[in-house]
Symmetry: C2
Subunit: 117 residues, 2 copies
């Protein structure tokens, strides 16, 4: 059942935070590190998990690997990402993540194009 696989991707707190951030903007691994304040290996593994299940896509940009949600998403995924975004509004952890991300984005030393589009 496809739906259960989506929820399997959603059922870890770190992955949930990653996916939530991706509903806002494509990001590279170092941004997740700075935003989530988790070890690189942990983030990298969860990203690999999500990638193997088609929940995220990557493209290289110089030294950075940019992660983003897939351009084409099933309606189930789309609905659940929207639901996640709505639920996240009232949760302090997700809010804090967004705040940290905003601070990153206001820095001037970011790789070009990461936050674009």
């Amino acid at each position: 059942m496809k739906l259960a696989e989506i929820y399997q991707c959603f059922c870890d707190p770190t992955r949930l935070r990653i996916l939530h951030l991706l509903t806002r903007s494509p990001l590279c691994v170092c941004h997740f590190q700075q935003t989530l304040r988790e070890p690189q290996v942990k983030i990298s593994k969860h990203l690999a998990y999500l990638r193997s299940r088609g929940l995220v896509q990557t493209k290289r940009s110089g030294n950075w690997i940019i992660y983003s949600l897939p351009a084409k998403r099933s309606s189930e995924l789309e609905m659940n990402l929207t639901c996640l975004r709505d639920c996240a509004e009232s949760d302090p952890i997700f809010r804090k993540d967004l705040q940290r991300l905003a601070e990153l984005q206001s820095d001037c030393c970011q790789p070009a194009g990461v936050f674009a589009k």
Copy 2:
């Protein structure tokens, strides 16, 4: 994170089918058995899992244990149950479950009150 715990409950296909049915009506274990066509022990264990995490409630009615969604639900749970219900509409497995349930409900030999309210 409370939200991740909800998704942990959602991440197994059998539990997802159980929860989906419960968005329609309170049910006892034997109804799940007939609707899902899964072994009693499997259903019973998944119900115990959901109960231990507060996703379902029980009340006894004679020999039957009636399972239902909790009367008072967090907004996160409510939103995700709604999303599940919407997603389930397009999935043949969930549709088939609903069909079997409807057949059960049209039988005349059901315990009183199970489907009430």
